[in-house]
Point group: C2
Chain length 333, copies 2
């Protein structure tokens, strides 16, 4: 089985690559080759199969990225929220032209590969009060979400035509991401847990009763791997899935934080940031997971388990003395 990951240098791309390298197989079939593609040549994990690392522009996709015989493509390359908002052409080029280029490359294979694509909670604008279901219309409030929703339509159509076999995951905000706070509107969703767990202060720009839809890095990676192997026969025309993310309030996050490290919640400082609040207030927080569960996506664990996962991973990394590889920003909307 041959696998390609676009955006292979990114946070989730690297996680998927490492999981594939560790397992050596996918869906019960041995992996015979892995190609990682990103703007800069991505780090290649040690694996029992050949791993190619290619640098380039996804909108001008080098043919070697999706070579003949490719069975699965994880198309994770994207320009995320803040960047797509700051640079319209760049977002359009990577998020739409890049997707078209991947469609064309899959079509040239002559047999439809599985195509796993990451869309986002940011493609909705229902707000924290509404429950998003399978039938909910996407009315994005940002260019990133609009481009992702348009790409979903293009991939569903390409699937119907037999060019590829798409499964689109609309990812929740991934938390706890490793790294440092940044300019992403969703940065605080990781930061209010990560920094206090490390004994540092963090800024909170929304009220305690603000609700979010989140997923841990491990769950997001599990879902991507499941999307690569699930039976799509029952999906019909609709190739997009709202996975079974975790709906939490900021207050619940702070309680779980305090339980994990007593005194940590006091390190979270409330700040006024109307600009950030206005953006995140358009993201829905409640999703009906029925379709995702029926398609075999594993339910998310508890908030406590999510924090435990981060703490254990941090300890492993500290023991190994390794720095956290931090390239892209999938899941950081």
């Amino acid at each position: 089985m041959r696998v390609t990951i676009t955006g292979g240098g990114g946070f989730l791309g690297q996680r998927v690559a490492r999981r594939l390298a560790q397992a050596g197989h996918l869906g019960g079939r041995p992996i015979t080759g892995l190609t990682l593609f990103d703007i800069a040549a991505p780090p290649a994990p040690a694996a029992s199969f050949p791993v190619a690392s290619i640098a380039g522009d996804v909108a001008d996709l080098p043919p070697a990225v999706i070579p003949p015989g490719t069975d699965v493509v994880f198309h994770l390359a994207a320009v995320v929220s803040a960047a797509a908002e700051a640079d319209y052409e760049l977002g359009r080029r990577v998020n739409l032209r890049g997707t078209d280029a991947v469609v064309d490359a899959c079509r040239r294979l002559g047999r439809a590969p599985r195509l796993v694509f990451t869309s986002s909670v940011a493609s909705f604008s229902a707000g924290p009060g509404e429950v998003v279901g399978t039938a909910t219309r996407q009315v994005p409030a940002n260019s990133y979400g609009a481009q992702k929703a348009a790409a979903e339509l293009i991939l569903a159509d390409a699937t119907r035509r037999g060019f590829l076999d798409a499964v689109v995951l609309r990812l929740p905000t991934v938390s706890i991401r490793p790294g440092r706070p940044n300019q992403a509107a969703s940065s605080f969703v990781s930061s209010i847990l990560r920094e206090p767990l490390n004994g540092e202060e963090a800024e909170l720009p929304v009220p305690d009763d603000f609700r979010l839809w989140i997923a841990s890095p491990a769950h997001a990676t599990d879902w991507l791997l499941h999307a690569a192997v699930l039976d799509t026969a029952a999906m019909g025309l609709d190739r997009s899935v709202n996975p079974p993310g975790l709906t939490v309030s900021v207050g619940e996050m702070l309680v779980a934080l305090e339980a994990a490290r007593p005194g940590a919640a006091a390190l979270v400082r409330r700040v006024a940031a109307p600009r950030i609040e206005a953006i995140v207030a358009t993201w829905p927080a409640r999703f009906d997971p029925a379709r995702a569960l029926a398609l075999g996506f594993a339910p998310h664990g508890t908030l406590e388990a999510l924090i435990g996962e981060f703490v254990a991973e941090t300890r492993r990394k500290n023991r190994a003395g390794g720095a956290i590889v931090q390239h892209g920003a999938i899941g950081e909307i």
Copy 2:
């Protein structure tokens, strides 16, 4: 006021152009220039203002098509259902790249022009039983519908960013179109009225209880003109409108046909055409018109009035001895 019509040589483009030429003004402001653009240079109506006619490729839009000072763009250029299904690249190039090119041209104007865009009932796949409302998700069953739905997302985002001020009309099947039966799946929707009204036989590929969502050419043109001048302040992020089309069964169409021309209904022959029925069965027939009516779109007249409109127009044309100009196929999905 300067106006541009892409797809200006098409059926609806020509109708809009003639209406503008006759009125001399739009929304109470005098028209100072009209530019018609299509693959072949469109016929220019006689008008009291200059009319330019330009030929070219919408995806490689000549700058003169949307010149500085443009106030309103009717973006009607499209590759319709059968053609977009037969040629994926052509559909993507015209329906998506063409829309991007129009967005870029509007953006370069430096002030947001009104952009009237035609989407379609074919962007839905709810089928004749479901009532389509403002919140209904578009899950297209054809490439034309997928490209139109994606273009809607791109235009809503371009509006939010201030590049233009879009109003998208999801047009019903336009009936009665002039001309002859053709290979479009929707051809029978005009043909079963038009041919018998002219004393000729027509083929009916669906059962009598089959329901359709239709609009007369005059109503569709009225709606396009209203979309050019309505106050968009109340539209918010959602720039798409399901206009108040007419829901009719084939049986009702045949009764109205017989009333208009006794004996005419007997000229309609039932034929088995499972391929056509499979396509049109994915198009919903019932729409909630509340939002369109609130935005000032005029309700549709009766089926009898729709037939009367065609009969009167045919008589006028026959008296004038003029052939029917028949270029594009907007509204013929």
